[in-house]
Subunit: 247 residues, 8 copies
């Protein structure tokens, strides 16, 4: 998009051919050898880069954490272990860690939140995934309503919350085992529903694959599915929708 | 159970050792070479033998059909093709065939029916399986309520029928695609629920496997599952339960 | 929501207790025996009921078609066969049928369309699914941009269309085989992406399951997935998002 | 069901419109934030709510345990760890824990038991699942006969117990590995059989999936299947059937 | 094994170095371009080469058929279509075709048969696979007992045949659906059992995969499994065992 | 089989009707509550009962161990842990334990061995399974040749051992990863081959499932397959064949 | 790569800023609406675009065919049906069609071929896939040796051809059923091996998935795998390697 | 190949018949009981034998290590644990161990490297697999370019490295999760691409199976796939190709 500007500068001899060529070659990422941080992401997508902490070596995680704090003044990491929290805290005593959602973050104060996202879970055991979704959405500026333990085996619990759920711009439905909650919500609301299967269950739940299949095959309209336990992905997409609605 | 009787007769020389031995050896089935018909089944289990017609050669099907009509005065076949119907009709003009359920039968008049079974389907496309279940249950002497097209994408349709469903001794929940109907019914009624996944669907429905997994993983209490499209099996078991309840 | 109104009328003796009770019992659907048409759906969700034609018996399809035309003055059916088109055309000569998308519809003239949805396919063979999505979105009032045959094996084709794709409120990414298109689009745009795996492919494509897994595991942010070949579902959800954005 | 009563009271000014509306809104569950306890379940279904302990945080488990003891004077938890037992015992020294079945409970004295359920296992390793089923059934008021280690590799062991098995109202057949026991029992008894696949086995047993498939495909009549290792589900449904039979 | 002989001839100048080298290079097969017929197989293994007819082009099948008749004076083909039978019959009017087993053969008269193999099926629909096994075993010189339709849903049928089954050197157990027959036979006989899963069944039978898993996981001793519907493979291996026993 | 004898005694008043009836009822197993030991197995099948130790509680294992030593003077356990070995050794200091095969046994001295079984592995990592097979076969009286690490990636190793392999009555082919060894051996020998897939491998080996599929689909004749890592099952069946051959 | 050239031209006013910008935007493909033909592919990759004919509408196939003939003077299509051949022949009477490989092409005369690729199949039924590979490699300028029907069930056939196979720059190993051929070849040659699983087989071959797993898990070094039946892909990559070797 | 030489010596009485026979029998491997080391491999294939350390017993690993160091003066082991490193270091203090790639080796100094292989990863977590590939290729004499963290969610990172990637003789593309990187690279380069799926991911990544399926189904030309996490296999085959190109 900025090609015209650069070319004009070349033509006007404001920059050299070499400078222009290097510009076209320069990429909007920070080369760290083991990682290439996408620092232009916030500009390009409206969302800063987030760290998937799981499995990262300590020195790599620390390096990436530092670079992102420097760049943005805040940072958001998912799937962090307690060990990683302790390790980061030594350098950044202000870092916050939530054991349930396993989110590790430094967040700016007084950020504004807009719109609303409803996050529903079938059971208590789905709450870690729900909190990953909720805190992601809040970090990126959405208001969130939490409606937990409204699974279909006692459907009156869900029905009693319909007004709240329906009032959001987007609904996240989180369930393990047979994952039927998503279909039922999909049939009851007129907003986009993002379904998140969880690995909660045993036996033929196949670590969440059964719930995933349930949700993918749902006969409800206006629903799409993310990976098993992917609360982050649901919170991110819900925020995109929420922002569009509040634009 | 009859060992004592036979042995007493031996002791009293009412029958010879050879006769007794042959008795112990004789099996309660009709040897037809290609089949061994279980003619004592009605006595042993309270249900006459049923013919699974699919894939049977014409001469085999006809042979078995004849033998069962002779023995019981009626006969019940599932998964029959139109060709099989035409073939049987030549010898048994009174035979009845239902294209939807693919049931082929000769049934005695004025059989009594007891109790009640509710049969629910998620959609219109599940009706062939539901009719296989319903007509099986009726043949074996149960009353049946049909509640069709009450899938979870419009849950008010199901809720409006709850009284009817709840009044049965046993409920059969039939659904393809994501199969969530069974879980929702399981959470709403206090009777045993037999869940039947169907092969209705496309893509990741995997010909009914997804619905089967949904139902097996259901968090609802009091539910068990039969094979994909197995309306007959559900109707049979529901009748067993219905008979126990009406005993 | 209307409980207070009804109760107030009861209190004021404007309606009898019996009438009120019947009101609470009455469901917003048309009971047709083989189907329960959700006629309040348009009011409740903003989208009229759509017919999934595949596998419906002629008389059932015709009955449902008639009822919906009566109610809404227009009707939209997916997965219709040519036979079904011929059958419906006898009663409704104005019905339109598109062989590619297999959509069968009667549509009101001069309906307004708002916003924009971009629909991308990896190859030419994915076009039937794309057209199902596109025509669904158009029927429900969205503008659509079609960007076909931009699969990753020649990524310059996709990059050349980025401006168009990026200008929509929502993007639908459709691909069979390995399904990588969705991830690449997800990394390039900052709008919600709905990924549709298709059954295009052979061998280990497993009739679309491989593409589905690719999309579900995508490392791209802001993406969710619908069932294999489910163009309708993607077009529906994209319209929900598009409406929210244009509100 | 109680709508008429409430409406009558409104009409008679016995309660205000606001009170009535709040009644319709109030749900028969205890909102605990992390859980919504279904306290009306015993009334609605005849079975009190049961706790699935696995994976519950200590404070959540304790909170739920307390609430249920308060409400019902007894409580039943499945899949409890020894740690959870120790934790609960500090507040409820009377709590009982069975290491084999992992059941954690406080049970009222002198509860009556009715009818009979037969519980069969293929091997010794299936006993934990069988005990979960047996103790569930006993807690809810059924008599239970345990017939363990009667797998088909030595079928005379099973045949020697047929009289006992046959005398129950319902049979639970529990097996891992190839799961053939359920089919054989299904062919020998005329009562409903609930089949429970277990994760006992190795290699191609796929953690119980093979046994599940065996049972779902069974050619025996009158059999349905619950999830792998789901002794609780089998015990629950068997009790429903047993109660119907003893009604 | 014959290296010493050849080398001795070289040393004694009975054959040239070149001849010897060519000997080591010459392979015991007939090169036909599209096929390499293993004509030494009968010498090496005691069993002549067999033709798997399915999918072979007419000219290829005919060419191979001719070559084998020339070499051995007889030939045995499996999975032949009626079309292939008609095609071969034009050149070999004496060829025999069995529609059930789909075996196409020219067989020498008065071949001797030894020992005994028992072949059991669970149902009538398994007979095509059983006949492939039986006729293979007979062609290669084994006596065969056929015991059909003795599935576990009526186990008295199987028990009544135990003496016959037990008297063989090897038992072939053939079953589709849940495949439990193999385990039961495995527990009742003390001879090697070859289990053959069949594709008979529907729904979760997965075209025989479920029966295969059942058999592979069998807790019975002395049993091994061949591919789904592979009657030929079972008949072949049973003959090897039968020959060893009658040696 | 002994029915005639018993009946004759009844007729002759050598035993009472009651005694005879009790005889027919008495089962040839030891009821231990948690287990039903098949003590007549050695008579019936020629092989004493073997203990699958894995997962048995200490007291159960010890009880079974004791009973079998009492009955047979020797005992053979598979899949035993070191802990179980230590536990048993306290009561039976003469017990032997092999860490590689995990076999735990007390064996009589100077048992005779007959015939020969060849046991081949693809790699070094398959040796534990091979030793389970070998020691099982030896315990039950077969001579065994061990040919280890002859996988197909260096096929000259296998070819150099062909004479040895071919001289056995039965061959056991053991391989993980892609499991191709079994097919190659199947094509080279004219004796029955029992193929054992192992869980050796990583990634798409799916814990042995890939090797199992390879072996089941083998185009080699005279081969059948047992469960993943089931050395015991292969050793048992090979002994049956070896005994038949040496009869 | 050409950025510097363009920029230099801009600087020198040889082209306008607008022209340069349009250059950067112009993509090397032909926009046909339903397809975007990659006409620069031959320059970029050294291989012209190939048509995957399967599933293309007649008018689309014809349009693409025409455009490619115009551009390159020749064209190569895979997976063409006889109908498509007839349709194309009307406009291009010189088009050639091979029924076995289903290749449809117009090829320039007297193209040079270099190096050598060996193509081996396990059986006769794998020849269609082998011919797709062979003719692809030949079209793109490689010499090909065909070695068919050398499967592992008679390994001497393969060993007799080793010199020929070993003399190529690259080997393609094609096999269905258990796919063991690829591993054996991989262990015998020191050139890169491209393994192609085929859908030849039945039962547990799972339409080629088992052969694919076998090949992916191969313990042989220097081997990689393409999709089931993907002869084209193997021929293409083998040509890349052959060209590198002959450079 | 040396048959003629040996035979000529026999003819000339330079060696005895017995010696010659023994020569033909002697195999080019070291028999170690638990292993058969392929010491002629380096001559036959140009690559010395490599040790797959995982799961080898200490004494076996040490024995093999010693023998290979003796033979070749260097040795290369993959998938070694730290424990194995410590164990080997006691006898070979010069051994080197890399924790990331888990490679354990003794390598000769000053080995020459030729050509170039590019190794790309989608993310930081794929680096262990990439290093296994890179160090394998380097050990066998290839130059390697490492391009890490260029996954498709930020495709500009990949595009910025295209010149480097394109300049290699062969490209290795390594990715977990959805594995789309391989397809994109396959579409951008004109060199053979070896795709390596990794087990990086969670939920529906199925431990790398999803990435494997993605890569196998890739629509890109000139790509083949190795097992999940098989960096060694990719490095080996890439070296074969690199050597051919630099010949």
């Amino acid at each position: 998009m900025e090609t015209v500007e650069i070319l004009t500068k070349v033509k006007n001899n404001e920059i050299s051919v070499e400078e222009a060529e290097s510009y076209f070659r320069r990429q909007p990422f920070e080369e760290m050898g083991y990682a290439k941080l996408d620092l232009h992401r916030k500009v390009r997508c409206g969302f800063a880069e987030v760290i998937f902490c799981s499995g990262k070596a300590d020195e790599h995680l620390l390096g990436i954490f530092k670079k992102l704090v420097e760049t943005d003044g805040e940072v958001f990491g998912t799937r962090a272990s307690e060990h990683q929290y302790e390790m980061i805290k030594k350098e950044f005593p202000e870092v916050e860690y939530d054991k349930i959602s396993r989110i590790l973050k430094i967040e700016k104060q007084d950020k504004e939140r807009i719109g609303k996202i409803s996050i529903c879970t079938a059971g208590t055991a789905d709450i870690p995934v729900a909190e990953e979704a909720a805190q992601t959405a809040e970090y990126f500026g959405s208001n969130v309503d939490r409606i937990y333990d409204v699974g279909v085996s006692g459907i009156h619990r869900l029905l009693s919350k319909l007004d709240v759920i329906q009032s959001a711009n987007c609904v996240i439905a989180i369930a393990g085992m047979e994952g039927a909650l998503a279909s039922v919500i999909g049939g009851l609301v007129d907003k986009p529903v993002i379904a998140v299967p969880t690995s909660v269950g045993y036996g033929a739940s196949l670590n969440g694959l059964s719930a995933l299949l349930t949700m993918i095959n749902s006969c409800a309209n206006g629903m799409a599915v993310v990976n098993i336990d992917n609360g982050y992905g649901a919170g991110y997409m819900a925020t995109q929708i929420n922002r569009l609605a509040e634009k």
